[in-house]
């Protein structure tokens, strides 16, 4: 965090908003019901689209008879896959840096074959959604059901038919890593523990379903797309490519987005079809997924089975880790990020907090006839964390060591950085030891252990679970760009000073409720030197902001924030230079603070910005000769020193297990994490809390259940359980601060830390509670049934 020309770091500039718990300026309209989500955008001549989706996990489409539907009231068009393919080209979800990754061409609407329950293959556009759905019922379809590949465990068996014949088998991707001498380490170990962990499929359940409204204005040659989405420039690029439009012909607007979590950063067939239909029909067309469609067609995540073993010395040193991961990703690798990333992250991250030097991992990614899976909040992290933390607890238990002491003994020491993790990941500065110490004090660890022991004597089964983790944030082009994906890892900010001293900042990272616009306003106000209420932030519009990646992989604050900081400093320098010329003062002796040009040393006001703005914009005739004010500044930023800014943290969970019913009661949860500079504690803490509860959802409740034929059994919110307020604990959050030196603001990401560690903490707590009963759970979600099975009661 370097000092600038004024001699001040951003934390001690006189009107710094950095590090302060400032409420989000854009939250007011949401509190008054004045948000504008896609379904709220008005459009004249609007057509509503509904999709006919496959009721089979795998079937040939023999015929789709649409004549009757076309005559139904309100119907504007009925379009099949073959008809749509004439204007929307197919895609294949592979990238060059995942060597060997294979998938098959995927169409916006399936043409000859459907490959999962919920895959769209025919569209009806009508004057209302209800009329479109009425017409769906009048379409006659003939299917020829094909064998469905449902169980990932048998997907690679020689007798299992390949979903895509041209691929030969159902293996989409495989990665192996072998570091050090794993076999020798296991051979010489005092203790080896082994476990098979299962991670159920779950999904994002954004409260606002996926939604898109595409409007083709032929006279302007402009396709305007209102999209509930995280990455508007990526969507623009992909629409151009597959609809054969030039860049300037597509504008993507992402205004208010009702939750995303990685769900809304992928290319979905129904959304591409909606845009193609707008072109075809030359009128606006809107698609809003209903809840069943969301469960059937939003990307799912996890669905891993990991068998892993860990070797220990007699003193409790972790010596080696050996693991095998199998994951099912549905029938296609999702475009354009691919569905290989989660398994790849599991290989990169497992055991990441620890200092063992022997590591072997294999990940196999297989195709199956279920909804496609792809990147969802904390991609791979909950799996990696559970595997390592579950084994560490098992080792501690067998060796009779305290689980917290076990972690203190094995984490990479805080003074060892920079260094590389065993998988080869480059770590700039982590703080596991400090985080463990802070957690221990915050949760009153020793007193809690005493309470647990005394309650155990009364037959009350409580458990304490810990989970140390690392998190990938601030990705550089190493994440996607190097593999050929046109996904920007750089972001930009343009800041303009208006005549009254108002500031408008256009930023290419996007807002889905994290508080992106809030922190950008804080940073811009601080960097330029104006009160925060003078700053307006524009985001989520390809026509109005610099080019950038949007918000995903915990990159908004660290990357977008640095671009805003640099742009703000540049604008301040421009403003001060002009003020110096007018005031006949050395610009180095001036500063901009709280909306006024001041003497840098004394702080005495020399000129309010409104006066400077009046002269510059309306009386430029009075400016000194040769002075051309530039009251707009743009800067871009991309991390260059490290491929990713890793962060770390540790979580703890305190639970009570009812050993008669198998119910788990969450009593309390703690998290200490280190995201570098904390720009706004109020926002960061709520990112952590929200992420924790999302992780708890996967650990205890959420599961996309399929039967043996590949039918989704629980496509409603009545059947698919999500965390509700009544079951959730209060959550204490604290921070260790290790800023990254690769940017001036030093911020790393915080969006996924909660989800990364919560499941392991909760499952370890359950196992801690069950330990005296000689029972263990290792299958998520840990439903009461899973607990009772572990206890041998069912």
């Amino acid at each position: 965090m370097s000092a600038d020309a004024s001699g001040l770091t951003f934390l001690d500039r006189p009107n710094s908003y950095i590090g302060r718990s400032v409420p989000r300026p854009n939250a007011r309209r949401l509190l008054e019901g004045r948000g504008v989500y896609v379904d709220d955008v008005p459009a004249a001549r609007l057509g509503h689209v509904a999709f006919l989706r496959s009721p089979h996990a795998h079937a040939r489409l023999l015929s789709v008879e649409t004549a009757e539907a076309k005559g139904m009231p309100g119907v504007l068009a009925v379009v099949t896959g073959a008809e749509l393919a004439a204007i929307c080209t197919p895609w294949v979800g592979v990238l060059g840096h995942f060597k060997g990754l294979r998938s098959a061409p995927q169409h916006a609407l399936a043409i000859d074959r459907v490959t999962w329950v919920g895959e769209p293959f025919c569209a009806v556009v009508a004057r209302s959604r209800a009329e479109a759905e009425d017409a769906l019922a009048a379409i006659a379809v003939e299917f020829d059901p094909l064998p469905a590949v449902v169980d990932m465990e048998t997907a690679l068996d020689p007798g299992t038919p390949p979903i895509h014949a041209e691929l030969g088998d159902n293996l989409a991707f495989e990665r192996s890593l072998d570091v050090g001498d794993v076999d020798a380490a296991f051979r010489d170990a005092a203790l080896v523990v082994e476990e098979t962990f299962q991670f159920g499929r779950h999904t994002g359940v954004c409260l606002e379903p996926r939604a898109i409204l595409a409007d083709w204005a032929a006279a302007d040659g402009l396709l305007t797309v209102h999209h509930s989405f995280q990455a508007p420039h990526m969507m623009q690029d992909i629409l151009c490519k597959h609809l054969a439009l030039p860049e300037g012909a597509v504008r993507v607007i992402c205004k208010d987005v009702g939750g995303s979590f990685g769900i809304k950063v992928h290319i979905y067939p129904d959304e591409m079809a909606t845009c193609a239909l707008a072109l075809m029909l030359k009128r606006p067309v809107k698609f809003v997924a209903d809840r069943l469609e969301s469960f059937q067609s939003d990307i799912h995540a996890r669905d891993h089975r990991v068998t892993a073993r860990m070797a220990f010395s007699a003193e409790g040193d972790i010596l080696a880790l050996d693991m095998d991961d199998l994951t099912g990703i549905g029938p296609y690798s999702v475009y354009p990020r691919t569905s290989a990333v989660e398994a790849n992250q599991v290989v990169n991250l497992t055991g990441g907090p620890y200092r063992h030097r022997h590591y072997r991992a294999r990940a196999r990614v297989v195709l199956q006839n279920k909804a496609p899976t792809c990147q969802y909040r904390a991609v791979g992290h909950p799996i990696a964390t559970m595997v390592a933390e579950g084994l560490v607890d098992l080792g501690a238990s067998r060796l009779g060591l305290d689980p917290l002491a076990m972690r203190e003994r094995n984490v990479i020491p805080d003074d060892a950085y920079p260094c590389a993790g065993v998988s080869g990941i480059k770590l700039e500065k982590l703080s596991h030891q400090a985080a463990l110490a802070k957690l221990k004090a915050m949760m009153g660890y020793d007193a809690l252990r005493a309470e647990q022991a005394s309650l155990r004597a009364q037959g009350i089964h409580r458990g304490i679970g810990l989970a140390a983790f690392i998190e990938i944030t601030n990705p550089s082009a190493a994440f996607y760009g190097v593999g050929g994906a046109r996904i920007s890892s750089q972001d930009g900010c343009t800041i303009r000073l208006d005549p009254q001293g108002g500031v408008v900042a256009a930023i290419s990272v996007t807002e889905q409720g994290q508080g992106t616009e809030g922190i950008i306003a804080q940073i811009v106000a601080t960097a330029v030197g104006v009160p925060m209420e003078k700053v307006r932030v524009i985001s989520g519009d390809t026509q109005a902001t610099p080019y950038g990646g949007g918000t995903w992989a915990s990159r908004g604050a660290g990357i977008g924030g640095e671009a805003a900081w640099q742009a703000g400093k540049a604008l301040r320098a421009n403003v001060v230079a002009v003020a110096g010329a007018i005031l006949q003062a050395d610009p180095a002796s001036l500063d901009l603070r709280d909306g006024a040009v001041v003497d840098a040393e004394s702080g005495t006001e020399r000129m309010p910005l409104s006066e400077l703005g009046r002269i510059v914009y309306f009386r430029s005739d009075t400016l000194p000769p040769g002075v051309q004010p530039e009251f707009v500044a743009t800067r871009h930023y991309v991390p260059k020193d490290y491929p990713f800014a890793f962060t770390n943290g540790v979580q703890a969970s305190y639970v009570e297990v009812d050993v008669q019913t198998g119910f788990v009661r969450l009593l309390k949860h703690w998290c200490v994490e280190d995201c570098g500079t904390v720009l706004n504690p109020l926002l960061v803490d709520e990112q952590i809390r929200g992420g924790i509860v999302q992780g708890i959802g996967g650990a205890l409740f959420e599961h996309c259940l399929y039967d043996a034929e590949g039918q989704l059994l629980n496509g409603s919110m009545a059947d698919y359980l999500v965390p509700m307020a009544g079951e959730m604990p209060d959550i204490e959050v604290a921070h260790v601060v290790s800023p990254t030196t690769s940017s001036e603001i030093g911020a790393k990401g915080a969006g996924e830390a909660g989800t990364a560690g919560a499941p392991a903490a909760v499952v370890n707590a359950i196992n801690d509670a069950l330990r005296p009963l000689d029972a263990r759970v290792s299958r998520q979600p840990v439903t009461p049934e899973v607990v009772l099975e572990a206890l041998g009661l069912v």
Binding site: Y37, E686, A718, A725
Partner: protein, 170 residues
């Protein structure tokens, strides 16, 4: 003789956010769609349309109701209040301020329903325990916050109303 055509629309009249309104409502349209489509009240959010998520919660005759589980025609003769009306009347201003100050919302999609549910709880008076607040909002799904901040904001509002003597249930 041709069968009688099914009734597709019906006239309804009710009080909406303090104003008398009337319209012809398609009989199959739920109250949430009617409020959004006929009256532009887009603060009524549709999350699941099967009565689980609580995003569409509005007050009907003073009681929190899921607008997706009630047909629009059933609103005939009732008094309906949405987040827009509660905002304009100022009756939940303190609650909204508390949500804002505590960052008890992120994406904002659950927020109108959450506020309406909390308003009903607060109208009962007193200062509810945290567990009682959690229980009261247990029918409103929020994916973003993890609920802790929402509980804090409701508790803060209840305490402030109680301290000011404004929590009487009458």
């Amino acid at each position: 003789m041709a069968p009688e055509a099914p009734e597709r629309e019906r006239a309804v009249a009710f009080t909406l956010n303090g104003e008398s309104v009337r319209c012809r409502a398609p009989v199959r349209t739920h109250l949430g769609d009617l409020l959004r489509d006929a009256f532009g009240l887009t603060g009524v959010h549709l999350g699941c349309e099967h009565g689980v998520c609580g995003a569409c919660t509005v007050l009907v005759d003073g009681r929190a109701v899921r607008a997706c589980l009630m047909l629009g025609v059933q609103a005939d003769g009732t008094v309906v209040e949405t987040v827009e009306g509660l905002t304009e009347s100022g009756s939940i201003r303190d609650l909204q301020d508390a949500f804002h100050a505590r960052n008890a919302l992120q994406c904002g999609y659950c927020t109108p329903g959450m506020l309406v549910t909390a308003a009903e709880l607060l109208a009962e008076g007193g200062v509810p325990e945290r567990a009682a607040i959690r229980d009261a909002i247990a029918g409103n799904y929020c994916r973003c916050t993890g609920y802790h901040a929402i509980v804090d904001a409701i508790a803060t509002t209840a305490e402030a109303r109680h301290a000011a003597g404004r929590d009487a249930a009458e």
